[in-house]
Symmetry: C2
Subunit: 135 residues, 2 copies
């Protein structure tokens, strides 16, 4: 089962309605794993759905994030990016071209000190620098 079908099933299970807009947004983020911004998703899908509004994109992504089906990335200073891959992994942002890359990370290997008594529920790792193309 691919990601899109999995997400659709998850929506069904949670009684979240499968509107045309939601399905298209789900399809887009499943097939375009480029950590798109709201604006990117909106401008791409508007070609197919001319009546689409940015509000709906925001609403949908908030719904998906609350349901735990997408993860919100805050690697940009100003705008959010969205990731369908909710497994733990790192994000690298190239400061030259602005591209955001995934990389594998072993969270358990990370040695921390000073979190005794804390309940850690989420771990985000953001690296910045230059990607191979921009070096």
């Amino acid at each position: 089962m691919d990601t899109f079908e999995y997400l659709v099933q998850e929506l069904r299970d949670r009684n979240i309605r499968l509107s045309h807009q939601r399905l298209k947004i789900l399809e887009y983020i499943s097939n375009n794993r480029i950590h798109p911004t709201v604006d990117k998703i909106y401008s791409q899908l508007q070609k197919e759905i001319p009546t689409l509004s940015k509000t709906t994109v925001y609403n949908t992504l908030n719904t998906l994030a609350e349901a735990g089906l997408v993860k919100v990335l805050r690697i940009e200073e100003n705008e959010a990016r969205y990731d369908v891959d909710t497994k733990n992994h790192g994000h690298f942002k190239c400061e030259a071209c602005g591209e955001v890359y995934d990389f594998h990370i072993d969270m358990d290997s990370l040695l921390c000190d000073g979190l005794e008594g804390f309940k850690v529920e989420e771990k985000d790792v953001y690296f910045k620098g230059l990607c191979p193309n921009c070096r």
Copy 2:
């Protein structure tokens, strides 16, 4: 030499003028290591400097960040926080009380895969969950 004096010397070295407002902001963030927001810094210092404007707080923090003397934290969804400690360490945000805690971290222990050919210049680690008081 304490942090405040060190920062003042750094400004002198870089020919950044030591205005009354800048010195007070430096003093505040040196003595209050609570990762304050612009609003926090502004409202606290306004008691001492009634004419202070938020624009100046923004200008100053941007200047300090460009000079590498403070680090901008983006652990909040909506607003930036500022940290005088520019050494590598992790930040934990309690999702109940909103407090941001520092913790020690050994970046070299972190096992990554897929960053061959990348030049990593900055590493940010953000954890979220519940702090001991809120559990």
